[in-house]
């Protein structure tokens, strides 16, 4: 059986990589990819802690619901990115500075 702290180190690394992607990339779709990476890092922690108590299913259930929320976030986020691109002709979040034309 694989020790839990390997999962936790990998989860920490993935979370920090997602944070760096979110901060450094100048594109809304890359920011969404970084958010997906951070959500998966948290999922990895939930699944890893669930194997400490295999009789309880709470960790796996929470991971499933996190995946569902990630799907909703990706769909709505990409729809907003498309709409902003149609309106402003850019997908750089820093260039969308006006609320109303």
């Amino acid at each position: 059986m694989v020790p839990v702290y390997h999962f936790l180190w990998l989860g920490a690394f993935l979370f920090c990589a997602g944070l760096m992607v979110i901060i450094t990339k100048r594109n809304a779709i890359m920011v969404l990819l970084g958010i997906e990476l951070m959500l998966n890092a948290s999922n990895l922690n939930l699944v890893a802690f669930n194997q400490l108590h295999p009789a309880h299913l709470s960790g796996q259930m929470f991971a499933l619901f996190v995946i569902i929320v990630a799907v909703c976030e990706a769909a709505v986020g990409l729809a907003i990115v498309l709409r902003v691109y149609q309106y402003y002709q850019t997908s750089v979040p820093d260039e969308v500075t006006e609320l109303k034309d």
Binding site: A12, V21, I23, T24, K25, E36, L44, M61, V81
Partner: protein
């Protein structure tokens, strides 16, 4: 070191390298493909952590759903068709500082806490998918139904937002 441990280290290394290259890559299309490599290796890690149902859900939803949506988004927001969508980097110093400092903090806390002493050696041997099905219909039935409503609302909202009503500008 048995075969399962070697598999675990392999998929862990693949996931970490994919995350690192997602930080460095400049092409958004390659970024989406690298993310899918990372998510599939995470699904393999879920199998090794005795969470088969979560692993199958991860493969179905991410490789089948989110990848397709993201690639559609990349194709619909490229200015000139046929030219790759290349992004610039900003705030490199602050991003690296935030990431490295958070990672140092997390590793410090993880190494100061002994999580693995109370770990049982025997893995769960009962039928996992059967147990998850019973759990979804008995103990977790309220979050299950709420998740269905959230999915419906989010997908209708996404379809309405992205529909082709003419905007004023452009």
């Amino acid at each position: 070191m048995n075969f399962v441990t070697i598999l675990f280290y392999f998929f862990e290394a693949v996931a970490a390298l994919a995350a690192l290259s997602l930080v460095l890559v400049r092409n958004v299309f390659y970024g989406a493909l690298i993310l899918v490599v990372c998510l599939l290796s995470l699904a393999a890690l879920y199998v090794l952590a005795f969470a088969e149902f979560v692993a199958v859900t991860q493969i179905l939803i991410y490789a089948g759903g989110i990848l397709v949506v993201i690639i559609f988004g990349v194709m619909l927001t490229a200015k000139i068709a046929g030219k790759p969508l290349v992004v610039k980097h900003t705030n490199v110093l602050s991003g690296v500082l935030a990431g490295v400092s958070l990672f140092t903090l997390l590793v410090y806390f993880l190494s100061s806490h002994k999580f693995f002493e109370d770990q049982k050696e025997a893995p769960p041997s009962e039928d996992a998918i059967n147990t998850i099905g019973f759990g979804l219909m008995t103990e977790f039935v309220l979050p299950f139904e709420v998740a269905g409503i959230v999915l419906l609302a989010a997908l209708i909202g996404a379809a309405v937002i992205a529909s082709s009503i003419k905007s004023k500008k452009v």
